[in-house]
Symmetry: C2
């Protein structure tokens, strides 16, 4: 399939519909418009008239639709770019209006909960290809997007066993044309990986900020003065959007709670070692941190 895609010079899709042109959705539109080989015609859809007006002003799409059913009717690919908590609902709403053979995709940060909620609405004649582009900024809305958002970032894909490989290949190719690197994985594995690399670090960052905020006034003001000693690194990721992160935490509940439980056991073991002066244990745990840091540097991720 990939060969035939590469061989053809026409766009991947005749008509691509983006439902929810926020940071991610409007970045897809901008890149597709700039690239020219992704879709012949771009449709943007949002239930908010303000967002529709703004998308039209910015000239991000060939058509701007407020009604999702009209937006998807003739599309050969529909990508749901609404918040994680709304993906299954919007998907179930538009699926009956999609034409047979069209591909349904979405860009949520969690996978299993979306799959479970959307499963009853899925159609055998509409391939479903869930994706997770690991890119973003602290801004949101159609003005926040930009064409290079996905350059050199990962996009994880979690197709179902019944998803036709040709559909997955098309979406993989689309993300390559967006500038992203792709990896296909199982949805449960996806949720565990994201729980440890992203969701747990964010949860810990939010939590330590709250712990500091609860301290007596004098200490709290000094936390701000002396934050350079380590605390500051934790606040960098604590500046993210509260509603987005609430939805991610709730939608990746199982994997996140499991990783947090493992972390809490490890932190308790460290606390016990400090209380009882177990020097060997403490040094061993610290050396693991250095080891992972070195691996990241070798892996050019640091």
């Amino acid at each position: 399939m990939t060969d035939s895609i590469t061989a053809s010079s026409g766009p991947l899709f005749r008509r691509l519909a983006i439902i929810g042109p926020g940071l991610i959705g409007s970045s897809i539109l901008r890149r597709a418009r700039q690239d020219g080989t992704i879709a012949a015609r771009l449709v943007a859809c949002d239930i908010s008239p303000d967002v529709c007006r703004r998308v039209a002003e910015l000239g991000l799409a060939d058509e701007v639709e407020q009604d999702p059913l009209r937006a998807v009717a003739d599309a050969d690919c529909v990508i749901l770019c609404v918040p994680v908590g709304a993906i299954a609902e919007v998907g179930a709403h538009v699926l009956p209006a999609m034409k047979p053979g069209a591909i349904l995709s979405e860009v949520g940060s969690t996978k299993l909960s979306i799959l479970t909620a959307l499963a009853p609405a899925l159609r055998p004649d509409v391939p479903f290809v869930p994706t997770h582009p690991m890119a973003g900024t602290e801004h949101s809305g159609p003005d926040a997007g930009f064409a290079t958002l996905f350059d050199d970032r990962w996009c994880l894909l979690t197709p179902l066993p019944e998803t036709p490989p040709a559909a997955t290949d098309l979406i993989v190719e689309m993300w390559h044309r967006m500038g992203a690197r792709t990896r296909v994985m199982d949805p449960a594995h996806h949720d565990r990986v994201c729980a440890i690399v992203s969701h747990l670090p964010h949860l810990l960052a939010f939590t330590i900020c709250g712990t500091a905020d609860d301290l007596a006034d004098e200490t709290r003001s000094e936390v701000l003065d002396f934050a350079a000693s380590g605390f500051r690194d934790f606040t960098r990721i604590a500046a993210s959007d509260p509603v987005m992160w609430r939805d991610i935490f709730l939608n990746n509940r199982e994997a996140l709670l499991e990783m947090l439980a493992r972390f809490m056991e490890d932190a308790q073991a460290m606390a016990r070692a400090i209380r009882w002066g177990d020097e060997e244990f403490i040094v061993d745990r610290i050396e693991r941190g250095r080891h992972i840091r070195r691996s990241l540097i070798e892996n050019r991720q640091a």
Copy 2:
């Protein structure tokens, strides 16, 4: 006192002895040598003949002594720059050899445990001024130091109630001449502030690296691939020296375990809110993180 110091143009000390010319100690020597107004004569002392040889090669001091008792004998200020775990022992060893009126100082990252261990050896005629310059790199030894290490960094001072203000003023002035900003605080308060701004973040960073390292091989390798999503920020501070951090954790045991216990309660509350879908609680905790982040930016610490 400060007025009289500023008025005089001569060096603050006739003879300044640095015990343990590692990263911090050799940076003090380099700055003092470059500045000229800190000490008329610099003495460096290390029990390791290799370190003594290297310090002499680098020309960091006017005299290099392997015997601490000889190094301190005629000094009017002695600064212990040995690891936190050795400060009390070295202090008790050199105190009887110091001349009356000379000032004893040290640069450990924790305060209460040093004070408790050193208290029986303190002399009423030798003022003790504990300090904590909040500066460092991941390197150590006499080659690692540099004259600008303390520029614009904080140095916290925790004099005893019986420390003569004139002695504290002299040490404050010395740190200003090193380029640092200073703040005087109570030793117990110091240990709590450092526990939350530095020691707890480091403990959490070491721990999450260990948690990731314990995952099944496949997930672990993907942690490295996808670390940019938040995990990476935590590893930056996890690259620190294991023995130094072991000593800090053990010497600030009480304050660190208290902050960790508060943090664990907060993390458990967050876990419970996620399990039961308490959206309001989750959003409230995340918004505190953003609030602290904004305060840091306003405070020019981020």
